[in-house]
Symmetry: C5
Subunit: 255 residues, 5 copies
């Protein structure tokens, strides 16, 4: 569980609800036509640009952002060093016995299979780097669904408010209805601002950062696999890994 | 048919129509001078920057976006593997018999013709990559027509609203006309927001994504043609293709 | 004559004039102080950032955009192929007789002079590519004058409107003047929106596209000159040219 | 202490306080629900996208920006030249005695340790450049927390103002409350503008500049270490350093 | 003197003053608290992000923009050709006598000193290119002070207007003061728009263009020095220079 994300959502929406409740009832901010035009309208417009499949995938990704955490980069670096040390002591082929335990890290598994099969280090590097690039591209496409949603939601809010204003202004006979009509007209703008700034845009940012974390993690895996393939000294690998790890996460495995 | 796009258009416009109908008649949102200035004005301004030919092509592209779907990337990869296997077993020249069936994939056809003619792999790669780049550039120029339209439409809406406001403010003698006049003035802003956010901008995004799909597809074709030209093992080609395919679409042709 | 540009200008301004005339007189939209601050003010602010020489050149460029058209890329490709064929048949030196007819295409002329003089293909490529890059840079500087103008005009419009509002609000004694005063205050915003969105910004976009066309055209010339310099087969040149030409413009000169 | 930053904060906030006090009491600008929604709401939304750990680190970074100054680039260059001269006169191994004094410049220390250990210059360059890149990336992630906060704060201000407007418009019975209600509604917009433009955005800019300074400083260290590793003449090192130092900071150590 | 810049400033501010005077007195646009919050507030906020030293340097740069002009690129090219011709006829060492006259072009002087000292052309190119890059970076940092100021000034204007609005709305007892209070509240927005669009932003653009001119000029100097170092034919140098010079400035020195 990524508690920061959950805590952020709960905290921010509690603040908005509190601010509303201190001045009146939450009910004044519920309006069916406004919900239709902003929520369903945004969904419709986003569907124009993306396939349903991409939207479904983006929603799965959103859930996984709330639930999963990336592995700790420090643990990953130590795991890679242990594999390197074992390969150094018992030979590269000895890694074949460790393979089964790595099934749940498909990227590391695939790279090591190639190394054990004797694929050249250059080939392993080219293939796995193209895999990292393709993964980052797919993450970006999922994040794009939320980025676009964050652009569309306020626009649908504006369209809803314009509809309300035009209807109110066309019918000024009873001045006592002006206030409530304008209040309702503004609710779509309110929904659009909430959706864009408190839901879609934070998720898009979160996805971009998670993607950068995944890329760093797979770069550590790849650095390790290449080092094993080139039969380098594990101490040298440690030094290479420490250049990409943040200072607080640097490892000193060999002391 | 790309149902997501069609469904998105229909859904979004239904929401807007519903939101209007729940508060009055659709007729209050029809105004001839507003249509003139936003629709025809946007068309005119876009024509300044683009040749008529480009605008016509962009409109054809828009239709094809609604009607055509790219081929499934998985099928494309398998087709390429079958060609590679045949070239491996029966020799590159045997592909000449498969050529006629490929006339409707001009990119693959052209690349294979060069391979069969004995053009060097480096030459094939350079020529076909320049073709992919030129195609992406042309797609971008068509998408630019819609991107510009999405920028101009709200500006024309603002200009229309300013015209209405200046005329209303210059003639405040009869206060009862203020409301309806402002309502009409706002309709151009409403049109501009609809055109930009629910038509032009989603189409531009869709075109950009379709273009990325086409580039990926042609990259798969090119990877295959180059692998055939270099007489590589089809199993190696499968591994190369799997690095660019999304995980859910990866193929295991040789089992 | 580039009719699309002219037609676009005339069409867009006709729409605005029509929208005004349907609600009143054009005279309500003429105001001398507003013209001063938006038109002369924008000109002044742009002059701060650019030399007078650049602004004059940008205005010449604007006129040439309305009047000139680039040559058709297809004709250019065929002309290059004819030169290549002649060089193939009669030797590179035979091109010297064709040179005079090329005086009005200075880029092609310069590249061929170097080729005929025996300059190495690498040198020709480096020199002419640096020339293309310098040309694109100069085009960008002219387009920048209009891009900046499109940013400044609405700002001057806002400043004018603020002046009008402050003066009106400071003197509310006679309520009957509020409406007309606000109407006049809004006219500068109207001018700024018109200038930015219907004049400067479309011209900047047009210039950017024309520049891209010129770059493509000179790339075709350069590809041809290099191919002649390397004494390649004209059929190979045709293939190279077809990779950069749009599908509808591809040539099949040798049938 | 970086007095410019402190002086800027104090100065800017004094101006705002003065402007308020000249027209009334500071108390009119204090409102608890507004503080809740803008301050706590912004914190909540930013937490969605970043881990708590990153937010805590960003706050530490903010403090250090106020308190620490980078070392003077001129002193750094001279220190590097002194090391280079000593290595030239007494041999690279003599640097081992200077090492302890360099413990508080971990980057220089690490690079020199590698040089003294006989690591090849190419390896030192690759490893230390990857370290500089990783450092710049970490700085960017901290600055991103403030960049995002500067985007979110005005959005929360807008949301707060919309809540106030909807509540006021829904209850227009007593006209005398309209003014004060709108005043309160606007205070969240005021908070959002203050937080974004006078706190978050200046800190993000400051962090970006500090990061660029750190990169330049480490580049000077790296240039020195590589030059020592290649046993180059210190005069040549001086010339290399002077190309990256600003003219006013150039050194002439050897006269 | 760069008359375009001076003329632009004077012209634009005259237009604004005229527009004000046609509708009333300039005095209505003078307000001490507004000046405090926008002018001193912007200065304070910018100081947070930049060191005092950078702000002072940026102000010097602003003055020099008004007073100095870059040398004419054509003269620079001819000067370089003359040096190249002399080196060709009398030997590279003969340039030593021309050196003293070049003291006021430090870039050319430094490059030629290296050439005369026999530094390899590759080294000269690397060192001088790094110097050009460092100069462009410093220019960018000075321009950034104005770019940031152009972003902050309207924000401070908005903050000032919000303060005025909140104070006015909180105290609606005497309706006759509403107009004048709003007028004063808008003056900070007016100041912010003037400062950003008519002062800071044009200066930032001007600095960016001057920097591009300086880079071009130093590129011409470097091209010349390298050509002299490689003892190339001055005619070849002329051809190289003409590729970077604008067509109207091309030189034909050897006829």
């Amino acid at each position: 569980m990524d508690f920061a994300t959950l805590f952020g959502f709960v905290g921010a929406f509690t603040m908005v609800a509190l601010a509303i409740l201190l001045g009146g009832s939450l009910l004044h901010f519920m309006d069916l036509p406004s919900i239709l035009i902003v929520f369903a309208g945004t969904f419709g417009v986003v569907t124009i640009s993306f396939s349903l499949q991409e939207i479904v995938r983006a929603q799965k990704v959103m859930l996984s952002v709330l639930i999963n955490r990336s592995r700790d980069i420090e643990d990953v670096a130590i795991e890679v060093l242990q594999l390197s040390e074992r390969a150094r002591k018992e030979g590269v082929l000895a890694l074949q016995q460790s393979m089964d335990a790595l099934e749940d890290r498909p990227f590391l598994h695939k790279a090591l299979v190639m190394v054990v099969d004797g694929t050249s280090a250059d080939d392993v590097e080219r293939i796995m780097k193209s895999e990292i690039a393709a993964m980052a591209m797919r993450h970006k496409r999922s994040a794009d669904v939320f980025t676009r949603s964050a652009e569309i939601a306020p626009a649908m809010g504006l369209i809803g408010t314009l509809i309300g204003l035009v209807q109110m202004l066309g019918n000024l006979a009873d001045p006592s209805t002006i206030g409530p009509s304008m209040a309702v007209a503004l609710i779509t703008t309110f929904y659009g601002a909430i959706l864009a700034n408190m839901v879609f845009s934070p998720i898009a940012t979160k996805l971009a950062r998670n993607s950068a974390d995944e890329v760093l993690l797979n770069t550590v895996y790849l650095t390790g696999a290449l080092s094993i393939g080139r039969q380098e000294n594990p101490r040298r690998l440690e030094m290479m890994l420490n250049t990409v790890l943040p200072p607080a996460k640097r490892i000193s495995y060999f002391e």
